[in-house]
C-alpha cells in the first residue's frame, strides 16, 4: 500500500532576478514498511524533497498524496496537525531539547496533548532502542549515537506512517551509524513504518530497499537494493 504518492513535484525559488528550480518534476512513491534513501550532491534538491514529503514545505507545482489523502494545498494549520499524526522526523543534529531528560524529549511531540500512557510508551520506546539505563539523562550526558536513538524514539512516539531522516548518520562514526541504521531497518520491518533517509553516506545503501538519486532536481537512476 502506498503511503506517499507524489507526482511531478516542482519547487521553484526566486532569488533576486533569477529563478531556481530546486525540484524540476519529481515523481516519488513510497510503500508502507519501505526503507528508501535519497542520495545526490548538495544542491540537488534532496532536502527540499524531504521537506515537501514532511509537509514542512509546499511544492510550487505538482501533487502529493499522503496515505491516500491529497495534501497539496493544505493550510499551515492542517499540515501541522497532519505532521503530528503521521510523520516522524530525525535530524542530522538530533535537535533534542537540552533541558529535558531522554524520556521527556521522547514525549515532546505529544506533551501538549498528554494522552494516557504517554510516559510508559516513551519508556518502552527508549528501552527498545537499548537506552533503558539512560531514561532520565539529559542530552549532554548522552553520546551522539545515544542522542540519535533518543531522536528516533521521539520520531516514533506518535506512531507515524513515515519517518523522515535528514542525514541521520551524518554526525556519527560508522560503527554508531550502523547501529542507527539497524534500528531503522528493524522499525521498517517490524512496525511497517516507511522510512526515507536523505544522505551522503554510502553505508546507508547497505540497509535500504531502494535508493533514489537526485541530480539537479530530477530523479536520476534508481537502484533496487538486495532486500
Amino acid at each position: 500500500m502506498k503511503v506517499v504518492d507524489a507526482d511531478d513535484l516542482v519547487k521553484r525559488y526566486r532569488t533576486g532576478g533569477q529563478t531556481l528550480d530546486a525540484l524540476a518534476g519529481v515523481d516519488f512513491d513510497l510503500d508502507a514498511g519501505e526503507f528508501v534513501s535519497i542520495m545526490g550532491p548538495s544542491g540537488s534538491g534532496k532536502t527540499t524533497l524531504l521537506n515537501i514529503l514532511g509537509l514542512l514545505d509546499t511544492p510550487t507545482e505538482g501533487r502529493i498524496r499522503l496515505d491516500g489523502q491529497d495534501v497539496t494545498g493544505l493550510s499551515d494549520r492542517k499540515r501541522t496537525a497532519l505532521r503530528k499524526r503521521t510523520i516522524g522526523f530525525v535530524f542530522q543534529h538530533f535537535y533534542l531539547l537540552p533541558t529535558l531528560t531522554a524520556v521527556e524529549n521522547v514525549e515532546v511531540p505529544l506533551l501538549l496533548d498528554q494522552p494516557p500512557g504517554l510516559t510508559k510508551r516513551a519508556r518502552s520506546l527508549l528501552e527498545r532502542m537499548g537506552l533503558g539505563d539512560r531514561l532520565d539523562h539529559r542530552p549532554d550526558e548522552l553520546s551522539g549515537g545515544q542522542k540519535q536513538r533518543v531522536a528516533i524514539a521521539r520520531s516514533l512516539i506518535n506512531e507515524p506512517k513515515i519517518v523522515l531522516a535528514d542525514e541521520p548518520t551524518g554526525n556519527l562514526d560508522s560503527e554508531t551509524g550502523r547501529q542507527i541504521l539497524d534500528e531503522f531497518q528493524r522499525i521498517a520491518d517490524e512496525d511497517d513504518v516507511a522510512i526515507v533517509a536523505v544522505t551522503h553516506d554510502d553505508l546507508v545503501n547497505e540497509y535500504v530497499d531502494r535508493t533514489v538519486h537526485l541530480v539537479d532536481g530530477t530523479i536520476g537512476r534508481e537502484r533496487k537494493s538486495g532486500g
Binding site: 514532511g54 514542512l56 501541522t80 499524526r85 522526523f89 535530524f91 543534529h93 531539547l97 529535558l100 515532546v108
Partner: protein, 368 residues
C-alpha cells in the same frame, strides 16, 4: 517546559526578572511612601479642617466680639457644631513664685468641649482654678494640684491638657486657661467653631461672613477646610507623579525581558523549528514562549511584592512610627497594582518575541 527553559539561561532570566523586581519595588514602595507621607501629614493636621476661627477685624477698629456676634455665629453654625467664645488678656504670671513674666491667658467658658485632660480633670462648669498646656506643664513641672500665680493671686492647676494638633489655632500646648468668669472684659477676642466635617466648616464660614460682615468687615474668618482639601489633592498628584516615575523603571524591565526573550528565540531557533516539525501549531509555540515570559513576570512580581512589603514596613516605621501601618487598603492597592503591572509588562514584552518564534518557518529554522 517553560520553567525548564528558564533554568537553562539562569543568569539571564535572573537579570530579567530582577528588572521586574526593581520595577515592582519602585512602584509599590514609592506608592506606599506617598501613602505614609499623606497619612502622617493628615495626622498632624488632625481636625483643623473642621475648625473655624472668628476674630475681630482690627483694621476696621473692631477690637472685640460681642455677645451678639457669638449668638449670630451660633445661629448660622449647624446645630451639632461647637461654638466656643474665648477671652484673652495679658497678665503677670508666675509659675514658680519667684520670677514673674507676662503671659497671655485665655478665658474659656467650657474648655471640656474643646480639650481633653492629660492629667487631672476638666471640671464642668469651669469656675475656679487653671488649666495649663502640655508644653508649659513640662517646662515648669506643673501637675494637677500645683499652684501658679496670676496677677498676684494664687490659682490651683486643675488639669494638664492633652497635646493638640500642631497647626491648629486651638492648640493649647503653650497656653494657660482660666475660667471666663474671672475676666472683667465683656467682649471676646476669638470664637472657635468646630464643625463635624471640612465641607460643613466651609459652609459655616461663608454663612458667618455673610451675617457678620454684612455692612462692615467686622470679623476675620479663618477656616482651613478648603486648604486641607487642596493639600490632600496635592498629595494625590505627588503620589501619581512618583508612581509614574517608578513605572519608567518597569518599562526598562519590560525592555530587558523583550531582549532576553528575543535572544532566546534566536538561540533556540532550531528547537522551535523541531517543535513546529513534530506537530506543534504556531499557537502552541506562542503559548510556550508566553508562558516563559509570564513566569518571569510572576516570579519577579512575587519577589518584588515581598521585598516592597519589607520596604513598606521600614518606611512606615520611620515616617508614621508604626510599622504595621503598612497593612492598609491604599498600600494593598499599590502592591496589587505594581504586581499586575509587572506581570502585564512582561507578558506584553514577551508577545513580540513569542510571535516571532511562532511564525518562523520550520524549514528555515532547520536549515542547519
Amino acid at each position: 517546559m517553560a520553567r525548564r527553559n528558564l533554568t537553562r539561561t539562569k543568569m539571564r532570566s535572573l537579570l530579567a526578572s530582577l528588572g521586574i523586581v526593581i520595577g515592582v519595588i519602585a512602584i509599590a514602595s514609592l506608592g506606599m511612601f506617598g501613602v505614609a507621607l499623606q497619612y502622617s501629614f493628615t495626622q498632624n493636621l488632625g481636625d483643623i479642617g473642621n475648625q473655624i476661627t472668628v476674630s475681630p477685624n482690627t483694621a476696621e477698629n473692631v477690637t472685640e466680639l460681642t455677645e451678639r456676634d457669638v449668638r449670630d455665629i451660633q445661629r448660622v453654625a449647624s446645630p451639632t457644631a461647637t461654638v466656643a467664645p474665648v477671652k484673652q488678656r495679658v497678665e503677670p504670671v508666675s509659675f514658680d513664685r519667684r520670677t514673674t513674666g507676662r503671659q497671655l491667658v485665655y478665658g474659656v467658658e467650657n474648655p471640656a468641649e474643646l480639650y481633653e485632660a492629660r492629667e487631672g480633670r476638666i471640671t464642668e462648669p469651669f469656675r475656679t482654678g487653671a488649666l495649663v498646656g502640655a508644653n508649659i506643664a513640662e517646662e515648669h513641672d506643673l501637675h494637677p494640684g500645683s499652684t501658679i500665680t496670676v496677677n498676684e493671686s494664687t490659682v490651683r492647676v486643675r488639669a494638664v491638657l492633652a497635646e493638640g494638633d500642631a497647626f491648629s489655632s486651638l492648640n493649647p500646648d503653650n497656653r494657660v486657661l482660666l475660667p471666663a468668669s474671672s475676666f472683667q472684659e465683656r467682649g471676646y477676642s476669638q470664637v472657635y467653631v468646630i464643625e463635624s466635617s471640612g465641607s460643613r466648616a466651609n459652609e459655616t464660614a461663608m454663612a458667618i461672613r455673610n451675617s457678620l460682615n454684612d455692612r462692615q468687615e467686622r470679623v476675620n474668618v479663618m477656616e482651613l477646610g478648603s486648604i486641607v482639601d487642596t493639600i490632600e489633592q496635592q498629595f494625590q498628584i505627588i503620589n501619581t507623579v512618583l508612581v509614574g516615575i517608578a513605572s519608567i523603571s518597569l518599562l526598562v524591565a519590560g525592555i530587558s525581558i523583550l531582549n532576553v526573550m528575543l535572544m532566546s528565540t534566536v538561540e533556540r531557533r532550531e528547537e522551535i523549528g523541531v517543535l513546529r516539525a513534530v506537530g506543534y501549531q504556531k499557537r502552541d509555540v506562542l503559548k510556550v514562549m508566553l508562558m516563559e515570559a509570564t513566569l518571569l513576570g510572576v516570579l519577579g512580581g512575587v519577589a518584588g511584592v515581598v521585598l516592597s512589603l519589607g520596604a513598606g514596613l521600614a518606611i512606615n516605621h520611620y515616617t508614621v512610627g508604626d510599622a504595621t501601618a503598612v497593612f492598609r487598603m491604599a498600600n494593598a492597592w499599590y502592591l496589587g497594582a505594581a504586581f499586575s503591572f509587572g506581570v502585564v509588562t512582561s507578558i506584553v514584552s514577551g508577545l513580540y518575541p513569542a510571535w516571532k518564534a511562532a511564525s518562523e518557518e520550520p524549514v528555515e529554522a532547520l536549515r542547519g
